[in-house]
């Protein structure tokens, strides 16, 4: 997500007075983009300038989905991730002088873009038997930012049971989402470990023996881990488990998953903050920990162990359960609450945490301090540290940091920090046989599609592939010819679904390519995907999706055991 002071999205019907504005602002690409404006959503035009860490203009474009973070623009501010650049000249001189682009991607090209980041994991069967409540998962992401700021993680816990899956939406760069995607699951896994295992691991570290593996990662080749910070991250993690060992009173208590998740989130955020305050002798690492701390990320993590499903959410990504009703229809059950201005309880919470005098300034224009859309996040120390601390760290920090106007900028009305927390809200759900899948996705998906549509599309995709309602002749009179016609039709329908081998890809195809009738329009899809890198962000956000499929047989067996 861009670090640009973008206008928030508001609903203005198409055909309102803003249309001429729209065409004025973007004379050239209008032809191309005009059909893309739908759902009656146009953005109010801010006449102000903004900076963004990419080489493109975000703010004067008419349609900006949702910029996570904005700060009062001032032409003197430099970008955070990029060297400064005369932005006005760049955009005005080149962008709008270009001729309209008109090229279409062929279906194979569209597919190769959509499938570039897709990943599938099937829980391995032993001898044709899968005892896990998870059949597997599909994940994918489609960048809008360059580079993408979303991250995803999936891993199997090796020393405890269960699987962890999460999506992370970064803002102000990708440093924080990257760090969280690498580190959070270790914090969770360690929080879940019994005392004896922690001791065993600690003793192994102490005596230089081989460590017990904690997580089995399931990664797409593009999901990288930072090698340079690995040691630093390990030391922080070790300190954490040492403290857990010390805290243990000796009495063996059952580990509460909810508590473990909350502790892990808070601890990691604390470590991110501490590492940035302490710094590192290695200048690369020093800059890295600062970038991590000054950027931010939301997280939505699911922990599945048998029929026990916990979702820990910080920010505005969402976890949605796909439930198949007895009549075969699909309904969506939301398992997380968005932490943003649309959530009354969050507004309430923020007001309670700060003095009455700040009641009006703590959330302004639906943003935290008028700047940040999510009300909970990792990193973002600008919303957590005292002004003194921020100044001290920036001054003693490397030049890159010092020159960066964004980091130096102190939010307005900043009186009683912290304003932001990484503490997640944890929901528990006991899986039932009718709970077929879970969709974890960043707001890039949810802002383009209704949750009911998401669940229906995934549900129909999965059943089409695995168990399209079987046909039974029963007592009816059916001729061979009729049956043949019916089967051929079913097969054709199936093969169109088979274009995607990945439920997440299928969902992205719909999210990006759906027309007003709710079906994928290839032309639209092609246009959306052929947007030049620097314009893509105006029309969509990064989208990251994980679709976890549950094993109804195993879930049902759990139920029967009781």
């Amino acid at each position: 997500m861009c670090v640009c002071p973008g206008p928030r999205r508001i609903g203005i019907p198409v055909g309102s007075s803003s249309l001429p504005l729209f065409s004025d602002a973007m004379p050239a690409p209008t032809q191309l983009f005009f059909p893309l404006i739908r759902n009656c959503e146009l953005s109010r035009i801010y006449g102000t300038a903004c900076y963004c860490h990419h080489k493109h203009l975000c703010c004067s474009s008419p349609y900006i989905p949702q910029s996570r973070l904005r700060y009062t623009p001032h032409p003197a501010y430099a970008t955070f991730c990029r060297p400064k650049e005369n932005w006005w000249q760049y955009t005005q001189g080149r962008r709008y002088a270009s001729t309209p682009q008109k090229f279409y991607l062929t279906p194979p090209q569209v597919n190769s873009i959509l499938k570039a980041n897709e990943y599938s994991f099937k829980v391995p069967e032993f001898d044709g038997k899968n005892v896990s409540s998870i059949l597997g998962f599909d994940s994918n992401q489609l960048p809008a930012n360059a580079p993408i700021e979303d991250r995803r993680s999936a891993a199997t816990c090796l020393q405890t049971r269960g699987m962890l899956l999460g999506v992370f939406d970064g803002h102000a760069g990708c440093a924080c989402s990257q760090a969280v995607s690498e580190r959070l699951f270790y914090y969770i896994a360690v929080s879940l470990l019994p005392h004896e295992t922690l001791l065993e691991i600690e003793n192994a570290v102490e005596s230089g023996r081989a460590l017990l593996p904690i997580l089995q990662w399931h990664k797409h080749p593009n999901d990288y881990f930072s090698k340079e910070a690995s040691k630093l991250y390990f030391n922080s993690l070790r300190t954490y488990w040492q403290e857990l060992i010390d805290l243990n009173t000796g009495e063996s208590t059952d580990i509460d998953v909810k508590e473990a998740l909350i502790n892990a989130f808070k601890r990691l955020d604390n470590d991110i903050s501490l590492e940035a305050q302490v710094g590192d002798p290695n200048s690369f690492l020093n800059y890295l920990v600062l970038r991590v701390a000054f950027s931010g990320a939301t997280a939505c993590v699911a922990h599945v162990d048998g029929v026990d499903l916990h979702v820990a959410n910080t920010g505005d990504s969402r976890a949605m359960l796909g439930v198949q009703e007895e009549d075969g229809s699909w309904s969506a059950v939301t398992l997380s609450n968005d932490h943003n201005a649309q959530n009354e309880r969050e507004l309430e919470r923020l007001k309670l945490e700060h003095p009455k005098s700040e009641a009006k300034s703590v959330v302004k224009q639906d943003r935290l301090l008028g700047l940040l859309m999510p009300f909970r996040a990792f990193g973002d120390v600008k919303f957590k540290w005292s002004i003194d601390l921020q100044k001290r760290v920036i001054e003693s920090g490397p030049d890159q940091l010092n020159d960066n106007e964004y980091t130096k900028f102190i939010p307005p009305n900043y009186h009683t920090p912290p304003y932001l927390t990484a503490e997640p809200e944890v929901t528990y759900h006991r899986l039932r046989p009718q709970d077929k899948f879970l969709v974890l996705a960043t707001d890039g998906l949810w802002e383009t599609m209704h949750r009911q549509d998401v669940v229906r599309i995934v549900g129909e995709y999965l059943t089409g592939m695995h168990h399209q309602q079987p046909i039974a002749v029963g007592g009816y009179k059916v001729t061979l010819g009729q049956m043949h016609g019916l089967l051929t039709e079913r097969r054709t329908k199936m093969s169109s679904v088979f274009e995607d081998q990945n439920a997440a890809t299928h969902l992205i195809r719909h999210a990006v390519g759906n027309n007003e009738f709710g079906t994928v329009d290839h032309e639209r899809l092609s246009k959306m995907l052929s947007l030049p890198e620097e314009l893509a962000r105006m029309y969509r956000d990064d989208i990251t999706i994980i679709v976890v499929q549950f094993n109804s047989h195993v879930v049902g067996a759990y139920q029967n055991q009781e």
């Binding site: 001898d127 002749v473 061979l480 049956m483």
Partner: protein, 791 residues
């Protein structure tokens, strides 16, 4: 008591024939359950399984005079696969032994109703095997030739004739067909009940609703069975448990490995046609369309063997799976399309039911019979690859003979349980392999096809090295063997395209390997022939030079005569056993190398061999070399029923040495009386290698126009530039058909023909290999420049 009870079941079944009434039959037997009788504590034979196999074994054993027999069935008689069987009796099988079993079954079932008074629904319909392609027609012609020589009538017919036999058939896309007029349809459940009833009358005791838990074994010998109703002491146990035979075999303390696995199998039943189909309407097998179609109660019954089978019961008996055996129309769709393409008029026919009945398949598509090598008295008859009804009668007879006489009246070597080892026992292997085997039922079977599943299980340490040099692999008992080496610049056809009955695409490649064996030196990795070490076969006139250079020891025939063996060093590696034989009749050596030295010795041989033109060769080159020299291979050409006198190896047996050995007297007697079959080599005369069909094995041999035997293997001899077939010649009396003594004179004074798919090729018979092939001396004036090229 038993018999009455049995007949009451039979009676009920008879009054309510047909698939609709199963449920009523089931409920009727629950009444019988109440009257359960205590099991005997002792019996000579316990048979597990009341399907067609178990009842057939019981029937034949009791006919042969064994009376003390108990047959146990876990559910009801004939309630497993037998009940669901499509009821088609077909004699057109790939193996002669299978054809004979089916032929016997056909004759047995025909008279069963008369014998037992139980209606079996036997109707002689005949069957028609359609060919959509020329290759399929060749395959049918090969089967046709073999059926005819054992006296089963069949003929190749034109599409026009096909249309006359079955008026619903669309014949426009056919190139021909095979008609087998004496094939039949029969109710297999009723056959099993009739066999059971006859056996029961002969004294066999039958108990249903009795499960065998495991077989008790002491000192490698069956001592009894443990059932859910008590123990029975017994000498013999027969496992006819069908798809549960594998599990039952494993339930012993000393497991008996019976490699088979079930797949779901679907067939369709319809209501009668407007003008109901006559019960004599022939059964249609459209293998290219993957379907069979028979008449059934005025309508049709049609099923098939799809490309994407669904294996089932991998973990053993799974109640969930058994309950979930549902109709799967989407899965059946390709077969339904195929059916409607073949019989378009059926469009308006009303569906009655799609039946899902698991069928059992084995790793090599052949059924399993015989005694366990691990447990004496433990016999097996299972794994019918959905031909249980066709094989039932014959297979039961052979197994009964095996138990009573110690061996069956026909050679069943190809079906013997002993062909498998522990390695085929893995559930994963079986699951994967049967997914390949089931479609193979209707796939075109061309010479030299290899299974693609269950591969790369056992490999030589040189596997990767050879693979990188272009090796193409075949598999023998799980062991990967190189067939030939594709040179880097050469491209072979894709697997599917290279299927042919004619000259294969690797012809030139193997030719250059053979040439190199004859003129220079080749190395063949023969590790699949040994167990603990790797074996390199160094073949060719320059093998001597390579080995002497590597060992600094003279290797000439004076120092190292033929069939001589000693330990020596090769390169740095010491203690390599070297034997002067090559399995091909060519000069050279076998090197038996401890595994840790494998790579070293191979590398040394290859690098030293370079200047002698060494190259890798594969098993096909070896085969061509050994067959042209008339070398018999055990398992392929000869087996445990072949004597040295019959295969021309009497010179290897020292009868006069005064030493006794097992079978000496029999050999002496045979020497005096003469042999009844003789291993003979045939050189095809008027066969065009480029244009004519290639021989494979199993082709009928004709002497002066009379059938005298079948080939066992064949290869193209690059030296003779002719095809060579090996096979056994018999002397059947023209009047009685009885076997008579085969003399050398009989062999030599005959005009021979080999029948390849109905085309007869003239052949010269030889009892001794062509002498010129053994002279290796090269003359100076034969040398040419090309001898200086690397091979």
């Amino acid at each position: 008591v038993m018999f009455c009870r049995l007949l009451s079941v039979v009676g009920r079944q008879r009054t309510s024939p047909g698939w609709q009434n199963w449920s009523s039959a089931r409920s009727s037997t629950s009444a019988a359950e109440a009257r359960s009788v205590a099991l005997p504590t002792q019996a000579q034979v316990v048979i597990c399984g009341g399907g067609i196999m178990g009842t057939s074994v019981a029937y034949h054993l009791s006919k042969m005079g064994w009376k003390d027999i108990v047959l146990l069935e876990q559910g009801r008689l004939a309630a497993g696969s037998t009940r669901f069987c499509a009821g088609i009796l077909s004699t057109a099988r790939h193996l002669t032994i299978e054809q004979k079993m089916a032929d016997y079954s056909n004759k047995l079932y025909l008279q069963l109703e008369q014998e037992t008074g139980i209606q079996t629904g036997y109707t002689r319909t005949g069957s028609v095997f359609l060919a959509q392609t020329q290759d399929r027609l060749i395959s049918l012609k090969r089967i046709n030739s073999r059926l005819n020589v054992i006296g089963i009538p069949s003929e190749i017919i034109s599409p026009k004739k096909v249309a006359e036999l079955h008026h619903l058939l669309n014949v426009h896309d056919l190139v021909g067909a095979m008609h087998v007029p004496e094939d039949a349809v029969v109710s297999s459940a009723d056959v099993a009940l009739a066999l059971a009833s006859a056996a029961s009358q002969n004294g066999v005791q039958i108990y249903d609703r009795t499960s065998v838990l495991h077989v008790m074994v002491k000192k490698g010998q069956v001592t009894g069975v443990e059932t859910d109703k008590g123990q029975i002491e017994c000498q013999y146990f027969v496992n006819c448990a069908g798809q549960w035979a594998y599990e039952l075999g494993l339930s012993n303390e000393e497991p008996v490995s019976i490699p088979l696995h079930a797949c779901e199998h679907f067939y369709l039943l319809t209501r009668p046609l407007e003008t109901p189909l006559q019960s004599s309407t022939p059964t249609i097998v459209d293998a290219d369309g993957r379907i069979y179609i028979r008449n059934w109660q005025g309508g049709i019954l049609s099923g098939g063997f799809e490309k994407n089978p669904k294996p089932i019961f991998t973990e053993g008996k799974n109640q969930l799976e058994i309950q979930n055996l549902q109709e799967d129309w989407d899965h059946f769709e390709p077969l339904l399309s195929s059916l409607l393409r073949r019989m378009p008029e059926l469009e308006s026919l009303e569906i009655m039911k799609l039946v899902n009945c698991p069928e059992t398949f084995t790793p090599d598509m052949r059924c399993i019979m015989g005694e366990s090598p691990a447990v004496q008295g433990y016999f097996v008859l299972a794994g019918m690859n959905s031909a249980g009804l066709s094989f039932g009668g014959g297979a039961g007879k052979y197994l009964a003979e095996w138990m009573v006489h110690g061996y069956p009246s026909e050679n069943v070597w190809e079906l013997d349980l002993k062909r498998f080892g522990a390695l085929q026992s893995s559930r994963t292997f079986l699951r994967h392999r049967v997914m390949e085997v089931m479609p193979l039922m209707y796939d075109l079977k061309v010479p030299r096809w290899d299974f693609q599943t269950g591969r790369q299980l056992r490999t030589s340490p040189l596997y990767d090295r050879l693979d990188a040099q272009g090796a193409r692999w075949m598999e023998k008992h799980g062991f990967e063997r190189p067939k030939y080496f594709v040179p880097p610049d050469k491209d072979l056809l894709a697997l599917e395209q290279s299927k042919t009955f004619y000259k294969p695409d690797w012809f030139d490649i193997v030719e250059s390997e053979v040439k190199c064996c004859k003129e220079a030196v080749c190395v063949i990795d023969m590790s699949s022939f040994t167990k603990f070490e790797i074996t390199l076969n160094l073949i060719g006139p320059r093998a001597v030079d390579v080995l002497s250079e590597l060992s600094y020891a003279p290797m000439t025939p004076d120092h190292f005569p033929s069939l001589f063996c000693k330990e020596m060093s090769v390169g740095y590696a010491n203690g390599i056993r070297v034997m002067s034989m090559t399995h091909t009749g060519e000069p050279g050596f076998m090197l038996y190398i401890p595994i840790e030295y494998a790579l070293h010795v191979y590398n040394e041989v290859m690098s030293v061999g370079q200047k002698y033109g060494i190259r890798n060769a594969g098993y096909y080159a070896l085969r061509s070399l050994r067959i042209e020299k008339f070398f018999a291979f055990w398992g392929q050409d000869i087996n445990n029923l072949t004597t040295p006198l019959e295969c021309g190896r009497e010179s290897r047996v020292k009868l006069e040495k005064g030493m006794d050995f097992i079978g000496r007297n029999a050999l002496l007697q045979q020497k005096q009386n003469g042999v009844y079959k003789r291993f003979t080599m045939f050189i095809l005369d008027d066969h065009d290698t480029d244009l004519d069909l290639w021989p494979w094995w199993g082709e009928p041999i004709y002497r002066n126009g009379q059938f005298v035997g079948k080939t066992t293997s064949s290869a193209y001899s690059y030296s003779l530039e002719r095809h060579v077939c090996l096979g056994f010649v018999h002397n059947f009396s023209e009047d009685t058909g009885e076997e008579q003594v085969v003399t050398a004179d009989f062999i030599n004074r005959g005009e021979y023909e080999i029948d390849i798919a109905g085309y007869r090729f003239q052949a010269k018979a030889k009892l001794y290999p062509v002498a010129s092939l053994f002279t290796h001396k090269r003359r100076k004036d034969d040398m040419e420049l090309s001898d200086l090229h690397g091979k």
